[in-house]
């Protein structure tokens, strides 16, 4: 089978054959997913073409069950004999590993036998020359600023993928999803020779809805140039305003700690906190997996369980978890349709959201964080300590850029100490929020 000839029907046939093979080899149940995609990435640097990359991906993944035993195998080779060997490998593992009463396919009544069309597929008929033109336009816009001294380049990417998921309960779901990106990364230098780098990117499943190349380039340049002249701070305790793109990471740590795996491993600072005040009053976290054209929308999860809109944090109170069928059974609960991750988790506030200027006013004297570095987040305890870059703010106005500092605290405190939310949301990924102002954190510097 070659990429050109593979229709959705061919792929479904391929999935069904793998399921049939698993049954013939003695599996009592099985699930198979098949992903295929094709893409083009073009990058330019300093006004010249740098790379043209053609992507062609495929992969088949099978989970076979022998009663309460489970085996998993995957392969990028989709030739018939190779699929057969992959199925064999999964069955072989399932026969030789140990039983777990929580193993098994999703409960039948949760499978998305019917699912909505979410308008996620917008193939982009972009050839090499047009891609080069867009990337150059993007980088040129960034380099128009005289302080931009060097460039890591600008990149345009189009990608078109299809996913087929089937299981031995008769579920067979298919959806197509395109994903297009435009990004630019540039370097600014000051008289002293100090260099700073930053970037910007736009992404959407519909290429017509991306930011235009000039805007992406200009934002990349602005974000880079404003870092020039950065210096460390003296250690202090101060309020910290997380710009929307970095505020998303705070949602990410929450999702990690509220996910089934962390809970059944008892490796979560949220253990036993259900129905308690975990976020500041007024804050709501809602998952919108069916948003039409959304950044991470999906009609069903990685197991075929129907995804659904639901509120996970209501007015600061923790109301739900992120569970797959397996983790749900481990915890004596029902799947929340989160196998494979969260889908458009949006933070909203009952308080009026503030503009950027209002946020700076509210911050008064403190730190704006624009970039975070390192892995200093402990999901078990909630201890938080990361490298940070940003701005020091005095009297509601930016005083100077800051680098080589850390911010530290504990996530449970940080979530409760959120005192304001920005109106402008970053909606480019599965976690979506405006800027978040945390009342008090420890800053370490000189």
């Amino acid at each position: 089978m070659t990429a050109e000839s593979a229709s959705a029907q061919d792929l479904r046939t391929c999935v069904q054959q793998a399921l049939d093979q698993a049954r013939r080899q003695g599996a009592t149940a099985a699930a198979v997913s098949l992903d295929r995609g094709e893409g083009l990435t073009v990058s330019v640097r300093l006004g010249e073409l740098e790379t043209i990359e053609r992507e062609q991906d495929q992969g088949l993944s099978i989970t076979a069950y022998f009663g309460q035993r489970r085996g998993h195998a995957s392969s990028t080779d989709l030739r018939e004999d190779s699929i057969e060997r992959t199925v064999e490998a999964a069955c072989q593992i399932a026969r030789s590993t140990e039983e777990d009463p929580c193993h098994g396919l999703p409960d039948e009544d949760r499978l998305a036998f019917e699912y909505p069309e979410l308008d996620l597929h917008h193939p982009w008929d972009l050839d090499n020359d047009e891609a080069v033109r867009l990337a150059l336009e993007c980088e040129d816009a960034a380099r128009a600023d005289a302080r931009i001294a060097n460039s890591e380049g600008a990149e345009v990417r189009r990608y078109d993928g299809i996913r087929v998921l089937g299981n031995s309960l008769g579920f067979m779901g298919t959806y197509r999803r395109s994903s297009h990106d435009l990004s630019c990364c540039v370097v600014a230098a000051d008289e002293a020779g100090a260099q700073e780098r930053d970037y910007w990117h736009s992404t959407h499943c519909d290429w017509r809805k991306m930011q235009d190349p000039g805007t992406v380039g200009r934002i990349a340049a602005e974000r880079t140039v404003r870092r020039l002249g950065a210096r460390p701070l003296a250690s202090c305790v101060a309020p910290v305003l997380f710009e929307a793109p970095v505020a998303r990471s705070l949602l990410g740590h929450f999702v990690g700690a509220a996910s089934g795996r962390a809970l059944y491993h008892e490796a979560s600072f949220l253990l036993g906190r259900k129905d308690e005040q975990v976020w500041a009053e007024g804050i709501t976290l809602t998952e919108y997996p069916h948003e039409v054209g959304g950044a991470a929308s999906a009609p069903f999860d990685a197991e075929g369980v129907a995804t659904q809109e639901r509120t996970v944090v209501d007015n600061g109170i923790l109301r739900g978890w992120f569970l797959s069928s397996y983790s749900a059974r481990r915890l004596g609960l029902a799947s929340t349709g989160n196998a494979g991750g969260v889908r458009n988790l949006v933070l909203e506030s009952r308080e009026p959201a503030l503009s950027w200027d209002e946020l700076l006013q509210r911050l008064g004297r403190g730190l704006v964080v624009t970039e975070l570095m390192g892995q200093g987040v402990n999901q078990v305890t909630g201890d938080y300590s990361r490298g940070a870059t940003g701005f020091w703010v005095e009297n509601g106005a930016v005083a100077h850029p800051v680098h080589e500092i850390t911010i530290a605290g504990s996530l449970p405190d940080m979530y409760r100490d959120i005192v304001a939310v920005g109106v402008e949301q970053d909606r480019r990924g599965s976690l979506q929020t405006g800027a978040l102002l945390v009342d008090r954190m420890q800053i370490a510097g000189v």
């Binding site: 043209i52 035993r69 489970r70 593992i93 008892e266 490298g387 850390t406």
Partner: protein, 486 residues
Amino acid sequence: MPDERVTDGAVRRYLLDPGELTPQTLEQTLAHAWSRACDYADVYLQHSQHESLTIENGVVKDAAFTLEQGAGVRAALGEKTGFAYSEELSPEQLLEAAQAARSIAHGDRQARLPQSSSTPPPAVCGYDNPLQNLDMEQKIALLREVDETARGLAPEVKKVTATLASTYEVILIASTEGVYQADIRPLVRLSVSVIAERDGRREIGGHGGGGRYGYSQLLETGAPARFAQEAVRVALLNLESQEAPAGTMTVVLGHGWPGVLLHEAIGHGLEGDAIRKGTSAFTHLMGQRVASPEVTVVDNGTLPDRRGSLRMDDEGTPTQNTVLIEDGIIRGFLYDRLNARLCKTESTGNGRRESYAHQPMPRMTNTYMQAGTHSPEEILASVDHGLYAVGFNGGQVDITSGKFVFSASEAYLIKDGKIAHPVKGATLIGDGPSVLRRVSMVGDDLELDDGIGTCGKDGQQVPVGVGQPTLRVDKLTVGGTRMHDG
């Protein structure tokens, strides 16, 4: 010493025969790319088998097998690169990839390809397939040993998770620079994670390691019990940990894995792509002093059996021991072929790629600092007030500004030259080009890490090694939650 016939057999069995490929097919693929006026072209075939098994709650009920294979074709002209890959190993797909890759070059060329005449460099490891090294019962028994050891060590141990992962990889590289090289690259890793609880407080501890060998070598070194003990020790220690200090202070870094400092602070900034583009804070520092004469740092891909070792890089260049900093002075950068060509120098054998679906770029192998003259005790005794950091989660660097971080997972407060008490994990932040100037004492206890490191760059993950002796760094910012009390 492994037999070359083993490599040849594996290449035929896994890479050539299934898709009816021959050495001539590869030559035709290269010739197709080369017939446009490019500077360089290569084709990379890869077959990789990966297996992982996890014990959790005392039960081995999660295991996975992954087969990844495909071919990548690349063509380069000046700073331009065309690249295409396919999961399908067939003559048609290789030609199609070559067609797409050569689109960066224009103009026809009649000249013949250079003849390939490659003798393989010396092997750095054996060629056993770790997946077939033990049968499933033995692997399960190994994980049980980890689980039971950890649980038996302390009543506070609540949860034990251990994962055994192994890879068997066969690659073949052919290029227009006369390379026709094959390699077999086994890799195993055992990692253990423990959660301990006392009086309602929960803490995590972990340890892991491995290398380029089969499971038998892992067992011979007593890894299962040793890693379990280490994970439990760290978890119990963290149950006693107090708030970490916040502010700038003297930091003593333990030997071995804390060498991640060198990897982040120095190594990435010396990679040839950033040097060529002038985006590294180290760009103009060749030949300049960046550290005391006691500091010598190398990147060595030739160490036997190490996780970061390779017989040859992913462009077929033999790996080597590259001196990066000698007696405090920058002496070397790390190059792949593309960046070496553009910088008019030679590749140092650091052209690595995550897989056939990724383009090679300059990457580290095993990066470490050579031993100095001070005993670790002497170094600790020299500090009035500071932090002693011996375990780390990992790090990150911004090569352009030079700022780097790394996050401690096991650390102690030092008071009056003595270890006072354990403190919570904290992020340490510093400036790459200046941090080595602050290294005032280098220990005599060089150690390499246990083989757990994975380095990410531009979305590509590759296994690496790090190492160092105990170091005293005079000033480093420690990101704790407690203000420095003098």
